[in-house]
């Protein structure tokens, strides 16, 4: 009788383990930069498309966008957490700003680029998660947010978008500690 109960209990544990809700199993680290390069190529296409439509794509309101400038000396002096925070906050802001464009009336081609950019930002977040990069932490109330810039056109916004991906995001991924473990 007790043996039967033990077996049933083990079976229940196994079933619960499979169907455990919430956190998924840790992702395999994506260290290959070709994954990010694919998103960068799509960001190039979006930037080129937005650059072509200057007048039709202008919007009255200003956008908030992250800073993309990279001073190598300054960057190399930052630790991984600081770099991660800068990248994650920038991605967060970009995501919000580009998502706000979805509501505006744009052409089908531009809309497809907007949708692709939002999707790619989400994928980049997954890649960072796979590398155990800390997630974005909104600043506490009263704390200073990361420095941002204002952009006045969609074309300028997508320039910021491509420069951010090529620069800070790529540098962070290239130097992820998980990908350099075991390498002296």
């Amino acid at each position: 009788m007790s043996f039967f109960h033990l077996r049933l209990f083990a079976l229940l544990l196994m079933v619960l383990e499979w169907t455990r809700p919430g956190l998924s199993s840790p992702l395999r680290p994506i260290c290959d930069l070709r994954v990010l390069d694919h998103f960068i190529k799509e960001a190039w296409d979006a930037e080129a498309a937005m650059r072509a439509c200057k007048d039709a794509c202008s919007i009255a309101t200003n956008f908030t966008a992250p800073l993309t400038r990279v001073d190598f000396d300054v960057w190399e002096a930052m630790n991984i957490e600081e770099q991660a925070q800068e990248v994650q906050s920038g991605l967060h802001v970009l995501n919000e700003t580009i998502s706000s464009l979805q509501a505006s009336n744009q052409t089908d081609v531009l809309q497809s680029h907007i949708d692709a950019s939002i999707s790619n930002i989400a994928s980049i977040r997954q890649v960072l998660r796979s590398l155990s990069i800390p997630e974005y932490v909104p600043p506490a109330s009263g704390g200073e947010d990361k420095e941002m810039q204002n952009v006045s056109s969609i074309s300028e916004l997508f320039q910021v978008h491509i420069n951010f991906l090529r620069g800070k995001v790529r540098l962070l991924l290239a130097n992820a500690p998980v990908c350099h473990q075991g390498v002296s």
Partner: protein, 510 residues
């Protein structure tokens, strides 16, 4: 002095870079041309006829405070190059640069520094033989730049030493390449250059490396194998030659068989009359009679048409009388035993004798009488047909009555023995030759048709003796050749004709 040395060295390096870039930047439409070497951005512009103007170079990032840069100059052949270097340029941000001449805006430009990378050429280029024919292994190291190891593409150029015709191979990311399809045992020159791949960073092609030489391995055909192959090939050739020579006749016959032609049977038909048979017939009509009789095998009996029927009652009686006389005379002779009493025997003898003496006169001779059931074409008076008996029927009858003998080569004295040994009776009861009397004359010496109703008689179709066959072989027997000779002494003996060289009609060769 130290600082001046450093400065001169920098200018020298810069000059080299400018010289390299000058060609690349020919198509650059911007007045201000910029490139990044390492982490430093250098911008330059060209001016002709330097009339001692004051040039000022200013720059600013993200529309912030403008900063000035010290302008240097280089004197070229017919122009002056002004340049300014910005150390540790920030990437992934917009840089605005302006050139002022005497305080006035001359040129302006906005650019991102990471798009104008001018990399150093690859290092440690090595070319080695892989051991395989027509292949060379090329490897190198990327220029020492952080964060860009996997963002570079390479171009490998190779050419035969001394030749200007080179080929180019593009290599992405990888720092080695195997050159294929090269000539064996040849010395090659190899160069490599590098450029950002254009995804994360953009820029210009670097300068070519110094050429490195490599020699391809010689063709790896083992001389021993070549010798063996040649030797085996030689042996095979000799063998085939021997076989061909030993059977050359057979092979020639198989490959190039003789086409049989009937030309010799028709003298002049193809040469003189060009195949016109009618013409040839009319010309050669007379000589046809002199043509020899041909012999063919017994498989092809000839079709004989019965022309008329002739009774031989008058001949029979005369024969009987002769035979009776002979019997009485030679009663003691051994021949009597051999002689039976065929009613036609003596008459046959007479006919044969007469035929041999005077062949032509018997053309109109009569036929044997038919006794059995067969079609008679001429129902006329048999008496009149007495003279129409053909001598040729007589030997045929003789043949039909003889079963034991085969050859015609019997002597005159043996005729009786032929008849005697058969004992099968007269032919006249079983076959006949009929010639319609009226049809003979108009046809003239045209055709002779004889129909033989073979109702059981044992016709002797035994082939002739080997000696005869050998003789015939020399004269080329044709089985399909039926000679319609009007001459009565055509002997369709067992379907065989004897060819002889005489012009006149000859009887059977006895």
């Amino acid at each position: 002095n130290y600082k001046s040395k450093i400065r001169r060295k920098k200018i020298f390096v810069l000059t080299c870079a400018l010289c390299t870039l000058a060609q690349l930047l020919q198509d650059e439409t911007e007045h201000i041309k910029c490139f990044v070497e390492g982490k430093d951005l250098t911008c330059f512009w060209e001016e002709r006829n330097n009339l001692h103007h004051q040039y000022t170079f200013t720059y600013s990032y993200e529309n912030k405070n403008k900063m000035a840069c010290a302008v240097s100059s280089l004197l070229a052949s017919n122009k002056t190059i002004f340049f300014c270097k910005l150390p540790k340029t920030p990437f992934f941000t917009t840089l605005d640069v302006q050139v002022l001449r005497d305080g006035r805006m001359l040129y302006t430009r906005s650019l991102n520094a990471e798009n104008f990378l001018f990399l150093d050429p690859p290092r440690n280029l090595t070319v080695m033989s892989s051991g395989k024919e027509g292949q060379l292994n090329v490897s190198w190291l990327p220029p020492p730049l952080k964060y860009m190891d996997d963002s570079m593409i390479y171009e490998v150029r190779y050419a035969v030493e001394g030749s200007n015709m080179g080929k180019v191979e593009v290599v992405k990311v990888s720092t080695m390449l195997v050159l294929l399809g090269l000539q064996s045992d040849t010395r090659y020159k190899v160069w490599v250059r590098v450029k950002p791949d254009g995804v994360a960073y953009k820029g210009y092609w670097s300068a070519w490396t110094e050429p490195v030489f490599g020699v391809t391995p010689p063709s790896d055909v083992d001389p021993l194998i070549v010798l063996l192959v040649l030797f085996i090939g030689l042996i095979l050739c000799l063998l085939s030659l021997t076989v061909i020579l030993s059977h050359h006749k057979f092979l020639l016959k198989k490959l190039w068989p003789d086409i049989p032609t009937p030309e010799h049977k028709f003298p002049g038909l193809f040469t003189v009359y060009k195949g016109d048979f009618k013409e040839w017939m009319s010309q050669n009509n007379g000589s046809m009679w002199g043509r020899s009789v041909h012999v063919y095998t017994e498989e092809l009996p000839s079709l004989l048409e019965v022309l008329s029927e002739v009774s031989r009652t008058s001949h029979d009686t005369s024969q009987r009388e002769e035979e009776e006389e002979k019997e009485s005379e030679s009663s003691d002779s051994g021949l009597t035993d051999r002689w039976r009493d065929p009613p036609h025997a003596h008459w046959l003898m007479e006919q044969l004798r007469a035929l041999q003496e005077n062949p032509e006169s018997r053309c109109q001779s009569s036929l044997l009488q038919s006794h059995d059931t067969y079609v008679t074409l001429n129902q006329g008076d048999n008496e009149q047909q007495v003279d129409d008996v053909f001598e040729e029927t007589l030997p045929l009858q003789t043949l039909f009555t003889t079963t034991g003998t085969s050859s015609l080569s019997t002597s005159h004295s043996d005729l009786g023995s032929l008849q005697q040994s058969s004992g099968s009776g007269r032919l006249s009861s079983q076959s006949s030759f009929e010639y319609p009397n009226h049809t003979w004359a108009p046809k003239g010496p045209g055709y002779a048709y004889m129909a033989v109703a073979d109702s059981g008689v044992s016709m002797d179709y035994r082939p002739m003796s080997s000696s005869r066959i050998a003789e015939l072989g020399r004269h080329r027997m044709y089985t399909n050749d039926y000679k319609n000779e009007i001459c009565p002494h055509k002997w369709p003996l067992s379907g065989q004709y004897i060819k002889s060289g005489s012009e006149s009609c000859t009887g059977p060769v006895w």
